[in-house]
Amino acid sequence: MYGLINSALRSMVCEQYGHETWQQVLETAELSEEHFFVMKSYPDDITHKIVNSATQILNLSGYDLMESFGRYWIRYTKTAGYQEIMDMCGETLPEFLSSLDDLHTRLGVQFPKFSPPSFECNEVSDTTLELHYRSTRQGLAPMVVGLVQGLGDRFETNVDITQIADRAQGDDCDTFLIHYDSE
């Protein structure tokens, strides 16, 4: 996992719970890194340790934490210098979701060790989309829920997201049904 993800986790914990809590998370995770380099690839184990530690310290379930992180991620990328790139990805929620896969493909060029997830977006109706999510990593589906909610915040659109297929339950991929308010 690239340092950008770990930096975002750090930023979320510090911003919402304070720097001392982040120090506790690091201590519990038995990590000494205070800063993560955006472009450096870190072992996935570090991210897992941070998430596990944070769930203990913050008394949150893994699902809640990852959903919360997904939602925060949209805000973080905006403030962390990716606003223009995000702006380039579309002006509406369906437009953005449609270009999400291309965005990750392009990011895979920048971050060769990224193993980016893939997104397939199908229009079900004028206000409904079906989003198929595939990743080599386990347990990140809740983050997708948060991401979509975060995009709803970004485009000031009410979003209702339901997971209708679960890879953990043997489905081919994680699939989400997304209802949103049309403009």
């Binding site: 990716y82 223009e84 790139i85 990805c89 060029v109």
Partner: protein, 518 residues
Amino acid sequence: MDVPSPSQWSLPADLLVELFPFHIAFDRQLNIVQVGRSINQLYPTSLAGQRLDDYFVINRPKVALSFEVIQQRLKSLFVLASRHCELMLKGQMTCLPDSNLMLFLCSPSVIDAQQLVDIGIHLRDFPLHDVTPDLIFLQRTTQMSVQQVEGLNQQLVASQEQLQDALKIQEHLRFKAEQQAKQLERQLKELKETQIQLVQAEKMSTLGQLLSGIVHEINNPLHCIHGNLDHCLEYTQELTQFCRFLIRKSGLECECPELLDDETDQCAHLQNLTPEDYQSLAFTLDDFPQVIRAMRVGTDRIREIVKGLRNFSRLDATVLEEFDVHEGIDNTLMILKHRLTKTNLQKPIQVIKNYTKVPTIYCYSGQINQVLMNILANAIDALEDREQGRSTRSGQCDRRVGTPCLTPHSSDRDINSDRHQPTIWIQTDLNHQGWLQIKIRDNAGGMPATVKERIFEPFFTTKPGARGTGLGMSISYQIVTERHGGCLLCDSQPDVGTEFTIELPINQSQLVVGQVCG
């Protein structure tokens, strides 16, 4: 299935527009024939049919915007700048074969994503094969990494500065601490020197009291001896003359005849002794032994005084020795006797002693004598002040430096019986710990609590002028507590009196570190 050769197929025009959304085709007159959709969307009307030079200028290479000129530079990388917006198009010019058309296949030339956003170009406007968005992403990511490194570098520099500041402060504090340590060392040295001088002054004060007492005590017997010496001489002469007369009269030969010379005339009157002469001789024979005995009494007294002074002569003794506390008290009283019976007092100070049989103790006897001397002399000072009406605090408060306890005393009735009789009570006993306890009490009027609580402070004195060094009680406290591990307490009741209690271990082996009185 046969694979068509390149010559058998060509790109349909609509597919060219789809695959290359950034392109411009123009003719020799620079009329725009076709424009890619991503360029066209940036303008309110279609650019097709418009003149190229109305909308664009050539930035690179530096050549004129002319079909023929461009045709000569087909191997150059061209950059066209929009006349109406910030759009810059970078790409390749291609002259279509057998045609008067020039095709400019291009892509936006931008340095960051913000420029694209400002121009109004989105990710979807790029063909998937275009690497421009990848370059923009890469540029953005690189920029962010640089920013992060810069941020960390700034933090590092700030930390270094803080560290340097902290080191400077530390160095400054170290320097200051060193200076203060040196100053303290100097002050400590000066203080020690001053202390030595003051302790010496206190010793001299004690010595002064000693000398004063000694002079007074020795003076009386000495005066007696000296006064009787004249009588002795006179009696001796008289008896000597009589002896010579008797020798001469006996006619015996004298081994030392010169002793009998020149005495004839003086002895002449012995030839005819009158009754008065016999009476005088008889008186001499009677008085001479009495005079000698009186002188003997005088010398005995002096010897006794000298013996009593023995312990006082060892104020600096560093060896523990056996000490009879009653003897010490008596010797001290003997030295202070002249002050107890001062003629200028309306009433002499009476001393009531209540000695209990106590064992001798091991201590620095000279120092304990010094303590007894300080306390007793202070009591006498206070009683004198009271007697002479010189006390200024409520007319009853004594001047000195002392504590309380005023425990029921066997002689309390003496206070009650005559409150105006200046009295010092001295009581010895063993306390519950088996330590020697000496209580010295007076009825000099006591002292206020504010004075009492400061009585053992160095340099604290209520005595006027140069009468006290202010160290007597402080040194006494030090001697009792620090040198002997004992206790020195003071109890005082205003308008009544003051009582000092000295508690000393019988021997120093009784002393337990950290033991407190009580």
